[in-house]
Amino acid sequence: MRLAVLLKTVPDLVEELALDEDARTLLFDEMSYVPSEWDDQALEEALIIKEESGAEVTVIAVDTGDVDTMLFTALAKGADYAVKIVGDFDAAMSNWQKARVVADYLGRGDFDAVLSGVQAIDDVDGQLPGLVAGFLGWPHASVITEVRVAGGSHLQLRQEYAGGLVAELETVTPIVVGVQAARKPPRYASVAKVRQVAKSATIDEVEADVAEARLAGVEYVRPVAAGHAEMIEGDIDEVVDRIVAILEERNLLRRA
């Protein structure tokens, strides 16, 4: 079984998003980026499959900035190969464009299953797994919490719906899967291990042309919240006093 895992970085929400409020544009070059958390889940699920059935795992990223650390980290965790799709790309590249170059690459390979995060925080123009599958004409399923090899060329998937309802799907390959959560929390790779891998391992570079974007004139604005919480100021004791008073006022305190 040959598995491809699509990884991308997204702006780090721990920091303030760099927004030019007048031009309503995001300053993509001024933000720091972290691996998208759902991609991390997809990688974990792929590594679990590898441990269970000896699959070969290739991690793939489009070179929209510094993706090397993310790829080396994936290798340090146990992925077998890393591929970086390079070209005239930048951090502002849309998902549609990423999906296009990734689909072209995958279409030339012989992967059995492609796993990626179910979504990412910056997916304005759609989620990568569905777009990639649509471009390739392959079947796909999202919000998946388990992928198991079911003998031969079949996979069994668990797909989650609202309220915890789950469907078990059986599918042929090739297939694209949007992973919501792996069966286990994602593993860690130590900084030392990543450094060591970065010295010895190689990232294969594949050239691609930029695809045309399909949406134009996208503007970003901060939401004008209908309201904002009334903030409770003060030290812990003062906060406790105030919360107790609020609960008392609304008759939410248990009477002894």
Binding site: V124, G130, A167, T171
Partner: protein, 316 residues
């Protein structure tokens, strides 16, 4: 201009609310733009619902695998119907099914997609979709291209349409999927605690840091006479059972008090608790999205505040 297409989803009690919200918006946009509305329904189980929808036309896709959601079979038949209807705008609720069908249909038909929509504005015949991105921290204003788009819509964005109509009906025979089969549907595990019935929820998110801190939440919940619920990452990490999860892929709750501790307020979480009577958020980040819907907030450290509050409540 082509019609506005709405992709309907089946719930236990008929066509889902999220879908009826899309019907509502489609109707008002169609009136503004001078076009029609076409809805696609799957399977035979809610046919009486479909025949009463207040849209111009309903296409009912039925056949072997249509009664249960099958991502591959649904996408293929939807792509056929899409090719036939040639819609200008397509609205799909951003649920599990919408996540599958929205992006898949967009890729397959080469139609631009706008995800996480919460509104669509019309001005001089031009539409702009508003999307909630970066976990709700920003809105994207996306002009809908002249050749149209597919928009996946976050449930709860508009009121549901419950008007009765008399649409034209078209039957469409779907092919079975050769690639994918639904083996079975598993109901969620029953739990001793039903968070949807609790008046008071002490809800913990990633800010709880680890299972060792859970007793702080349990203690506080006990002092308040409530129970502990949580955000999705807490379940994914295995710290609390699935039945305790609030949100899009968990439970929808409407308690008298929702104490959100270390929860950022991602749209998927808000979807499950925004209608609580009283929301108090404890989050060290004042700019966290949860603060926009909470009634009261504090930037106190939850790991300090939870025991202090429990202590006070117990002490009288």
């Amino acid at each position: 201009m082509g019609p506005i297409l709405i992709v309907l989803e089946n719930g236990a009690a008929g066509v889902t609310e999220a879908t009826k919200e899309c019907v509502n918006k489609a109707k008002s946009l169609a009136a503004q733009l001078g076009t029609t509305t076409v809805a696609v329904g799957f399977g035979k189980q809610h046919v009486s619902d479909l025949r009463r929808l207040a849209v111009t036309k309903v296409v009912i896709a039925s056949g072997g695998t249509m009664d249960l959601y099958n991502p591959d079979a649904y996408e293929k038949v939807l792509a056929e119907i899409f090719g036939n209807v040639k819609p200008y705008l397509t609205l799909i609720a951003n649920t599990t099914m919408g996540l599958d069908l929205g992006a898949g249909l967009a890729g397959r038909t080469q139609t631009p997609l706008i995800a996480y929509g919460i509104d669509i504005e019309e001005q001089d015949g031009r539409l702009t979709a508003i999307s909630q991105v970066f976990a709700g921290k920003l809105l994207a204003r996306v002009p809908i291209p002249e050749d149209g788009a597919i928009v996946t819509v976050i449930p709860g964005s508009w009121p549901a349409d419950n008007e009765a109509g008399d649409p034209e009906i078209e039957e469409w025979t779907a092919q079975d999927s050769e690639a994918m089969r639904v083996l079975r549907v598993v109901e969620p595990e029953q739990s001793d605690i039903d968070i949807t019935k609790a008046d008071i929820l002490v809800s913990v998110g990633r800010g709880i840091e680890g299972p060792d801190n859970l007793p702080l939440a349990e203690d506080l919940a006990e002092a308040l006479g409530g129970v502990v619920s949580c955000s999705r990452p807490v379940v994914d990490a295995g710290w609390l059972p699935k039945a305790r999860q609030v949100g899009k892929s968990g439970q929808t709750v409407k308690p008298k008090l929702y104490l959100a501790c270390g929860i950022s307020g991602a749209p998927e979480h808000l979807q499950g608790m925004r209608d609580a009577d009283l929301i108090i958020a404890i989050n060290t980040d004042e700019s966290a999205s949860i603060m926009d819907i909470a009634h009261f907030g504090t930037t106190a450290d939850m790991l300090e505040l939870m025991p202090a509050l429990a202590e006070r409540l117990k002490g009288g």
